[in-house]
Amino acid sequence: MPTQTVDVASVDEIPEGKVKTVTADSLRIALCNYGGTIYAIDDVCTHDGGPLGQGELEGKEIECPRHGARFDVTSGQVTALPAVRPVRTYPVHVSNGRIFVDLSS
């Protein structure tokens, strides 16, 4: 399957420990800076379907503000209930200070 990589933001826009939500190809994505590396996940909490990117990062976990569900942004896995399904992750690569997210598959 051909990659569908989209330039979504500049690295400068996301300081370490912060989250920024972007829209790419009608998908809402949350970009998370953990330890200097950018990770991309769906901006959708698998518990209630609402936005996840409004939550805060604690280490490599993002916490959904509405009911406290947590996800590991590096793998998408759930680390705290009430979410039970992992959140989708997208491969990211950074080039020339720009963040590219691979939306294929």
Binding site: G68, A80, P82
Partner: protein
């Protein structure tokens, strides 16, 4: 009645029970703010991460609204500023026996509760004497490698285990009252069972009560490692009084692969108490969690013991009874979340309303996509004893998998005239007959209780039915 455990007055660290009445200059006052939270944490000498956790939780508590679907008429009467959120044993001992309501004292008489225990149940004393039986139980547990202490000690002595699991099942942001508990929790039980270990004797809350804050905001965490088994019992059937009217506990159960946890609760809070509890379990592959829940007291109880089945073959059961008389509302239920295939849930809820009492059942059975082979059975029965009483049922099912078997059935009725007539024709009075019928109605629950609880529950029901006729 329940076995009584001896609490050691001299602070014995080895057993993990100590009353944290330090020389800290804490002044008990009403209302909740960051200052109080900070003091609670400092007095308990908690690690920084728990202190931060409490502060963050308090902010969440302030920000969250009351749940709009709840009994707001009752909830709306809570004045959050007019409550003590933390009291040490010395603060509690200021109460006198005279303050304890008369009807509770009468029930103590009828039930034959021992003197020392009366003072404890009446909220007049923070500690009570108990027997040495408890010591030998502790020895057995140590030999098996089982950890059992109050939550404060658990955090102090097993910080790694606690940190790994704390708030992963019920995060502070889950609801307004879990946020409150997360900010001001004190006491509760911490249990860790090593892999493959079966704890044959039920562990009881009485074993480790040290009465801080009179059980107002208890936090319990039970972790059963793979293949282990433990049964925990809390509460008691005797009426319990507390001058602090807001109780909000959080109970988190973690049943790892093949583990089995049974959690039994009986609460009979006096009718001034708002008992708002968040209880949830996570069950991994082939694990089994059972909630046995009896609600016979309080002004308003909101409690929905839940099981999130995240591993294949997991199983969740809830067996609950509720009894509501005048001025009471038992708002109970359960949430069963099937997030893995071939998981099973069974909910059995029985409630009785009398004299204007109100019982509600609120439940959710949710099956996620891809979870084939799920079986769920919900059965709610409600008995209305008279025209003043009320019963509501609000069960919801959200089913996103096809090869499943989901069933729900609920019935509301009153004690049948034919039934009553038949029983009375055997020579019983109407009170005796009614008692027998209600006991029979609750029987599936009562037979799951340890003997002494079952006996006392039956006596209590008899007392209540006496009040209902004539």
């Amino acid at each position: 009645m329940a076995t009584q455990a001896k609490t050691l007055v001299d602070k014995d660290y080895k057993y993990g029970f100590r009353d944290q009445t330090d020389s800290y200059a804490f002044k008990a006052r009403k209302g909740i703010d960051h200052d109080i939270v900070e003091q609670i944490s400092l007095m308990k000498k908690e690690p920084q991460w728990m202190r931060d956790f409490r502060h963050r939780s308090l902010d969440i508590f302030f920000a969250k609204p009351l749940p709009p679907w709840a009994d707001l008429e009752a909830l709306g009467q809570i004045n959050f500023d007019d409550i003590y959120y933390y009291m040490r044993a010395s603060d509690i001992e200021g109460k006198t026996w005279e303050e304890v309501p008369e009807d509770i004292k009468r029930t103590f008489d009828r039930l034959g509760i021992p003197e020392a225990e009366r003072k404890f149940l009446g909220g007049v004393t923070a500690q009570y004497d108990s027997e040495v039986v408890y010591h030998s139980i502790r020895k057995d547990l140590e030999a098996q490698g089982v950890l059992f202490s109050d939550m404060d000690a658990g955090l102090r002595e097993h910080e790694d285990i606690v940190r790994e699991h704390f708030a992963k099942v019920i995060p502070p942001a889950d609801n307004k009252f879990s946020a409150l508990n997360s900010a001001v929790w004190s006491g509760g039980s911490f249990i860790w069972v090593p892999p493959g270990v079966r704890v044959d004797i039920p562990l009881q809350a009485y074993f480790r009560i040290n009465a801080e804050s009179m059980g107002q905001f208890e936090r319990t965490l039970i972790i059963a490692e793979p293949g282990s088994f433990v049964h925990y019992i809390e509460g008691c059937t005797a009426p319990t009084y507390s001058s602090n009217s807001l109780h909000s506990a959080v109970v988190e159960l973690i049943a790892k692969e093949g583990a089995h946890i049974r959690y039994t609760t009986i609460q009979n809070w006096y009718k001034n108490i708002y008992n708002l509890v968040t209880k949830r379990a996570i069950a991994h592959k082939n694990a089994h969690v059972e909630w046995v829940d009896g609600n016979i007291g309080s002004r308003l109880t909101m409690k929905y013991p839940s099981v999130y089945m995240v591993g294949e073959g997991a199983r969740g059961d809830v067996l609950s009874i509720a009894y509501a008389s005048e001025g009471m509302h038992q708002d109970a239920g359960s949430k069963m979340v099937h997030a893995a295939p071939n998981t099973t849930s069974i909910i059995t809820s029985k409630s009785v309303s009398k004299g204007g009492g109100r019982t509600s059942y609120r439940g959710l059975v949710k099956v996620y996509e891809g979870c084939d082979g799920v079986k769920s059975n919900v059965r709610c029965d409600a008995l209305l004893m008279d025209p003043e009483s009320r019963s509501d049922t609000y069960p919801t099912m959200e089913i996103d998998a096809k090869n499943v078997r989901i069933e729900h059935e609920a019935t509301v009725s009153k004690v049948g005239e034919e039934q009553l007539f038949y029983v009375m024709s055997r020579g019983m009075t109407e009170v005796e007959a009614t008692t027998m019928i209600v006991n029979g109605f609750f029987e599936p629950f009562v037979k799951e209780l340890p003997m002494e609880y079952a006996v006392e529950l039956n006596r209590l029901i008899a007392l209540e039915m006496e009040g209902s006729v004539g």
